[in-house]
Amino acid sequence: MEKNILEIKNITKNYGDLRALDDFGFSINRGEIIGLLGPNGAGKTSLISILSGTLKDFSGSVSFLGEDLFKNRKLKNNMGIVPQDMAFYDDLNAIDNLMFWGGLYDISKKKLKERAIDLLKIVQLNDRAKEPIKNFSGGMKRRLNIAIGLIHEPELILLDEPTVGIDVQAKVSILEIIKDLGKNGISVIFTTHQLSEVEEICSRIIIMDKGKKLVEGTLKELIDIVGEKEIVEIKGEFSIKSMNDLKKNIEFAEVIAIKENYISLSFKNTDKIPDMMEMFFKNKIKVSDLKIKSPNLETVFLKFTGRSIRD
């Protein structure tokens, strides 16, 4: 059995002068859950469009199950997507939707029906199977969205922000479903703006921005890059320029990110924080808030992209 279920190599895609993907590539193993992180405009949508076959004129290659994805249409029977939008028919019920979306794949009607019933149990919608979806809550719709993505038993599934806009309880339930997918040998590419979710379920994380892969590794590997240092986040009234000027004089800490009215620093020794504050006061920089915390994925993300994932 091949180790890499999907291998994306050197993908470059331009829209005129704009480079959406720049020599981008990664691979995913069977049963692995990869978190693909990037701020808006990072190139995630372009990557998804390439995988779906709706984006042409790019360089690079995509190998799925050891074959060129674009040369064998049948390979798509083993790949699924859960789009960010509730991409199903609201006026139909859950069973009708599962039967329709599953029918687009090469799967027998009998098997499809059995699978639909099983999936509705998994996503805890079996008692609402024949109710129009327009009556469903946001969380129920999200769960159905996942069930539709899994109806044809794919070996790889791409989950594009599957927890957006739902309550904590529904989120927990969805994250549990995703964890189970990995345990059952299904590979998952998971994109989200909730870094805590990635920390919780992903075995490997890829951070991308402006079409480039910036860093890749396990959560521990990524945090190690930032180092076992304390992270100090300062908010106040200052410009990016004034902080960049000040940055030259900060020797006792490493600047992770500077934004308008915000600076994040990594301190080897927190004893130096008063020295830094003194420097701020000397330069008449008003500080309104200061937080000390341990490094996490957000720190890593800030370090590599220079901005928050929600920017």
Binding site: I81, Q84, D85, Y89, F100, G103
Partner: protein, 411 residues
């Protein structure tokens, strides 16, 4: 093919579960046809009676004969009312009568003396045909009355002799010769009756061919095709607009993740609009037959015209949707496009009533060719030209639409 049928079946299922928008678009043309048709329909049985007002200033036999003629059951088209002159004039000016006839005093006397006399006819200027009917009928009566008096030599002595009797005017007329005891007149009358009854010239009625339910011109058959084609454009556009909505809400991306080809998707979408359009129009045909008793003509020809028309519309909107960025843009453009088609194509006003300078535009619209086709089919003529024009232009639209949509899906 399996996936095309699947999308098609799914569309039908969805529309059947939420049929409201389509039902509304089906009901509106039927209602509009009903309203317009009822207003302008020349229904034979319900022709309104002509309201005739008469002021009788004479009150003698001549006036009575004249008035009674309007009441005759054989004529049965007048609703008569005897009024004072002032009241009569007021009713005419208030548009509550078609004509006012004023019989002057001494009318009968003058007639019997064989002096010239006048009847005054006041016509309602707000009405077009009805006052003219009253005028023509009055003229005919005047000729008959003048003739009868002169033939029978009826004079005042005779009239005076029967004054005070309760005889109605018909009995009086019948008995006039006997009452006069004038042999010559009695003979003249007999002779006249011999000539008149039985008449030498008689109009015989003959009805040839099979009896149909079509009682003359059915105005609905002229209105419904024009109005319904306008709404068919709206209905098919709703189905085709799925191309935009599915692209916007992620369904298209999800479908393209499956082993579905872009060309299969495009075909399914056009086919869906096409088939749903055919089904919808067949319902309109049925409603037209059941409610308005429309004789559509040859149903096979009509079916061909509907198939080709719906194909044309589906391809046309598929092409437009290849250029629209989103649903909002489509919503903003589609209604004016359909209204232009309908205004110039004869759905709203007849094309021959358009200013001559813009009349050529109608030939560029679907509505024009469909209405011509439907009219020909009603006369059981196969509409070769409209069908060929719609078929060829429809195929061209389909080819361009498929290529343009493919470019929008696969960037």
């Amino acid at each position: 093919m399996k996936r095309i049928i699947l999308i098609l079946k799914n569309d039908i299922k969805r529309r059947l579960k939420s049929p409201l928008s389509i039902l509304i678009l089906l009901i509106i043309p039927v209602m509009m046809t009903g309203i317009i048709g009822t207003v302008f329909s020349p229904s034979e049985n319900k022709m309104p009676k002509i309201r005739v007002l008469i002021t009788d200033n004479d009150k003698e036999l001549g006036a009575k004969v004249f008035i009674e003629a309007f009441k005759s059951p054989q004529v049965d088209m007048f609703q008569l009312e005897l009024v004072e002159e002032n009241k009569g004039r007021e009713l005419i000016s208030n548009n509550r009568g078609s004509a006012l006839i004023i019989i002057p005093s001494g009318f009968s006397k003058n007639l019997l003396k064989k002096n010239k006399t006048n009847l005054l006819l006041i016509k309602n200027p707000s009405e077009q045909f009805m006052p003219n009917i009253v005028e023509e009928f009055s003229k005919t009566l005047s000729i008959l009355l003048s003739g009868a008096i002169q033939v029978f030599e009826i004079d005042e002595t005779l009239i005076n002799s029967i004054k005070g009797t309760n005889m109605d005017y018909k009995s009086l007329i019948t008995m006039l010769p006997m009452l006069k005891k004038n042999k010559t007149n009695a003979e003249k009358f007999k002779k006249l009756m011999t000539y008149l009854n039985p008449p030498l010239l008689e109009i015989k009625k003959e009805i040839t061919g099979k009896k149909t339910n079509n009682t003359g011109i059915n105005i609905f058959s002229y209105i419904l095709p024009g109005i319904s084609i306008m709404f068919l454009l709206f209905i098919i556009e709703i189905f085709i607009r799925d191309i935009l909505s599915e692209r916007e809400d992620g369904k298209l991306q999800r479908m393209m993740f499956a082993p579905l080809r872009a060309c299969e998707y495009i075909t399914a979408r056009i086919l869906s609009g096409w088939i749903m359009g055919i089904l919808t129009y067949l319902i309109i045909v049925l409603i037209g037959k059941l409610i308005f008793n429309i004789d559509w003509g040859n149903y096979f020809f009509l079916f061909i015209l509907i198939i080709i028309t719906c194909f044309w519309i589906a391809s046309f909107f598929a092409l437009l949707n290849a250029f629209f960025k989103n649903r909002n843009q489509a919503g903003a453009f589609v209604a004016p496009i359909i209204m232009i088609f309908s205004a110039f194509g004869g759905s709203i006003i007849q094309t021959n009533q358009l200013p001559e300078a813009v009349r050529w535009v109608s030939a560029l619209t679907l509505n024009h060719w469909f209405i011509i086709g439907a009219n020909k089919i009603r006369s059981n003529i196969f509409p070769t030209t409209p069908i060929l024009i719609l078929l060829i232009s429809g195929i061209i639209l389909y080819i361009i639409a498929s290529k343009a949509l493919n470019k929008r899906i696969i960037i």
